[in-house]
Symmetry: C2
Subunit: 525 residues, 2 copies
């Protein structure tokens, strides 16, 4: 008990002290069948104690032959202690709006767990509209509770404001491992409303503050407070590989050209960048490059961006989550006053809002699973059926940004998968939304092009040489045999994926190669 009383230091409102309990006690208040809105975005700011304790409870109930499942709504991806633990015990009926957990993925793809993959800017409003059903309980990690009962947000904001507003009951996790100096970095916008009562969102510059640093939560909603020292998911920062560096180089050269042509201002426009290796390579490239006074309006701040803030290249950043390596986190905490002036953490409906993304003219850079020769982009599925993670915010930024890049290496699995295919096996971004495709082979600027012109450019600039002839053969035969605005041979369009499923490679066999060669001959004769 002494340890607990010591720890109450972050719960400044003493009226709340009686609500402090263990996670095991708290999860008794979560019945089967409810929808639970949890904090968490890109492995940051998720509850550390409740999901694990809940998984244990579900396992026990199951052992007693009592079925127990809940709906789990979050900001975006979380960590093994949340998604992994609950998926492992088959405790999730419906998961939304994004996940990246291996156990979750397996359950979803086997049909044991339902999953809705949603534009991240849509989630808060759709929950408020009631489109996902009733939200019963919110479980939110915070850095502290203030005297007036307002809550100091943790390392991510995500949908927390909406979960607290919409849920009947709220469980708080107060995390003592978080720096108390996060206080003041967040901007929680309480100006949203249901139509027809909505007003313009008054952001005109990346770091405009339009809300308050804290969540409001009516005291009567809080049913439990759990204390924790758990740390966020460890994100290891890996040095960019050769392909990523090459992709970054193509993007930087392109941006330089656009500045020279007067299309972009010298300090570019606010950059949005997906998570991962290529994103970090682009940031590293920008950090070493000749652009100054850069800004970013994005979802997630990774180490690459932190480095750019430190170097002074990046002057303002808006995001909804800090997803840092331990070294990055240490740097942040060490110089928190410096970073707090330059970073704004918002709710994800605002960090990704179409209105603001379009107004600011964001330069959107997102990864993809594959693109087809007409520029349709698959961001989510392997071979049409199996989901990897989800669309996340890529659609919010791609559709509404000033420029929209989709990037990936031209091949994968030692060359057995081509990143450019005749027809994508799943579409997340249509030809109407993709502008610029980039692989280590090159960059295809699709602006102002018809589908046939796009095909020529994508095959020439982005496809791996091992697949270029076959793509060209497909395109030429489709034009000759079927014609059309977007020529396809439907019996062959998905054959590359089908071949991979059957043979482990998209590469055509000797027999297939002969066929391609024969068809090419007949065209030239």
């Amino acid at each position: 008990m002494s340890q607990k009383f010591e720890s109450l230091s972050r719960i400044k409102n003493k009226g709340y002290h009686s609500l402090v309990m263990s996670a095991e006690e708290a999860v008794k208040k979560i019945p089967s069948g409810v929808n639970v809105g949890m904090s968490g975005f890109t492995g940051s700011g998720y509850p550390k104690e409740i999901p694990v304790a809940l998984a244990a409870r579900i396992r026990e109930e199951r052992a007693q032959n009592r079925p127990f499942k809940i709906g789990v709504w979050t900001g975006a991806s979380t960590a093994p202690e949340l998604d992994g633990a609950l998926a492992e015990v088959d405790g999730i009926e419906m998961r939304l709006p994004y996940q990246s957990d291996p156990t979750c993925r397996k359950k979803i793809n086997s049909g044991k767990m339902q999953y809705m993959d949603i534009h991240l800017s849509h989630v808060a409003q759709h929950a408020w509209f009631g489109f996902y059903g009733k939200l019963n309980i919110a479980v939110i990690e915070v850095a502290g509770i203030r005297e007036d009962g307002s809550l100091i947000p943790a390392g991510s904001v995500g949908n927390n404001k909406t979960w607290i507003d919409q849920a009947d009951q709220v469980i708080i996790e107060v995390n003592y491992a978080l720096s108390e100096k996060l206080d003041g970095m967040h901007d929680i916008y309480y100006g949203t409303a249901l139509p027809p009562h909505r007003k313009p969102i008054p952001i005109v510059e990346v770091a405009d503050r339009i809300g308050q640093p804290y969540y409001h939560c009516p005291a009567e909603k809080i049913i439990a407070i759990v204390e924790t020292h758990g740390t966020d998911r460890v994100n290891v920062f890996t040095e960019p590989d050769a392909a990523s560096k090459k992709i970054a180089e193509h993007i930087l050269n392109f941006l330089r050209d656009e500045v020279n042509k007067g299309v972009l201002p010298p300090n570019l426009l606010p950059i949005q960048s997906g998570v991962g290796n290529i994103a970090n390579a682009v940031m590293a490239g920008l950090n070493e490059g000749d652009f100054d006074n850069l800004t970013s309006y994005t979802e997630v701040i990774q180490d690459g961006m932190l480095n750019m803030i430190k170097s002074g290249k990046l002057v303002k950043v808006s995001a909804t989550s800090l997803s840092l390596s331990p070294a990055g986190l240490e740097e942040l905490n060490k110089n928190i006053d410096f970073y707090r002036e330059r970073i704004v953490l918002r709710t994800q409906e605002i960090s990704n809002h179409p209105e603001v993304v379009r107004r600011l003219g964001v330069i959107a850079i997102n990864g993809m699973v594959e693109a087809d020769i007409y520029g349709n982009v698959n961001s989510t599925h392997v071979m049409g059926s199996d989901i990897i993670n989800g669309i996340g915010g890529s659609g919010d930024f791609a559709r509404n940004g000033f420029l929209c890049f989709f990037v990936r290496p031209s091949i994968a699995k030692g060359g057995d998968i081509s990143g450019i295919v005749p027809m994508v096996s799943h579409v997340d971004h249509t030809e109407h939304d993709s502008q610029i495709l980039v692989t280590e082979q090159g960059l295809a600027d699709l602006r102002g092009l018809s589908p046939r012109q796009r095909a020529e450019r994508i095959i020439e600039h982005c496809a791996h040489p091992d697949y270029r002839a076959e793509l060209r053969s497909y395109f030429e035969r489709a034009c000759a045999e079927n014609s059309g605005h977007t020529p396809h041979i439907l019996s062959e369009a998905l054959s590359w994926h089908d071949r991979f499923n059957k043979t482990g490679s998209m590469k055509i066999t000797a027999a297939g190669a002969e066929q391609v060669a024969a068809s090419k001959d007949s065209e030239t004769n």
Copy 2:
């Protein structure tokens, strides 16, 4: 000459009288190779004289062995006198952003004409950004020129403001067939800017006026003025057929339920409705129904909406085009003061703007070519390759609206085409954007559902009974054979379209039916 001087009555700025000339003279000022931005949206407000005269000139040049092609940019679809005439003489190099002309369509699908199919809210900004190349000449129909040189817009606004701003030279067509009383109905917003200088668009109610009734055009840009009495494309209003009425009934019942559940206010939210038979049926249903004080934030005002304004059911409408039958036009002109108070015609970047569409919470109702069992929607292509018209504004409204319906009859071509297929042959709206599918068979509310749950509901509620068993067979076998979040059998996913291409019907043959039956047996055994 006397006739011409008589007609100068609508050109109040006398300094412009010297620029008046015949269309034949005017088109001599349009060289080959330029991009021309023309007015016109849904057969309304397109130039009547210049395109025809230009087509004649192109034919002559061609006869002299001089190639002649231009880029043609518009608001949306025009008429045979524009798209038809120029396509007929192969005079268009690149067409954007939307067309619905049979000759154009044929040239595009045969690869003779390039075409870019663009979200209508994107066009003006992308042209301004320079993404489509330089705009050389604008050809704009107006209802008159005022003393100060400002231009009174015609029956549609479309991209005219941007074409005038961006073009080096402007040709004006003054149309004396238009009612002069249109003056004051338009709201041309001049508050747009290039990022990073953009501000919120200050519309908070459907009919808010935020601009001015006229286009500005610097006098020095105008190189020719042509007078015309040509009338807009005749749109015949057809009575809704049985399927359309049934679809409308499903939608109205659904909306009533949502009001009863408190999801929608009693007067709903602003309605957007695509063009055509089903749209008119929905409007007719609303006009006879029990909803009052309705509003609309849409692209096009058709007869159905005019009737609703007249009856008092519809109190305010925002659009970018009036697309009326002769009887509708007569009614409008007769009671123009009444309608001017209730109708605002905007630039299409504002009528379709994601920011405003989301803020107002638009109820989007759009037609589709086909949907698949997971809710992906094809709005543009027949059997994957051939384009029909284009995506138009459907994506602007579907992605950003409060509710999003996609509608079509469950079958076409006497039953040989199913509107619900295993996998769509082209994707314009992804599973992330479609919410409610409606056929005459029923309505599938997909909100809050995973892909597998969607499949069950779409097959059950929307598919025609003739295709239901085959769709279910596909879905069940895909789940069993491949599993996945979105189970597909890639070698079979597009086989319905392929079969239609080869046999003229999506229906499977006796042999195929046996195969389906056999696979179903093996599942139940």
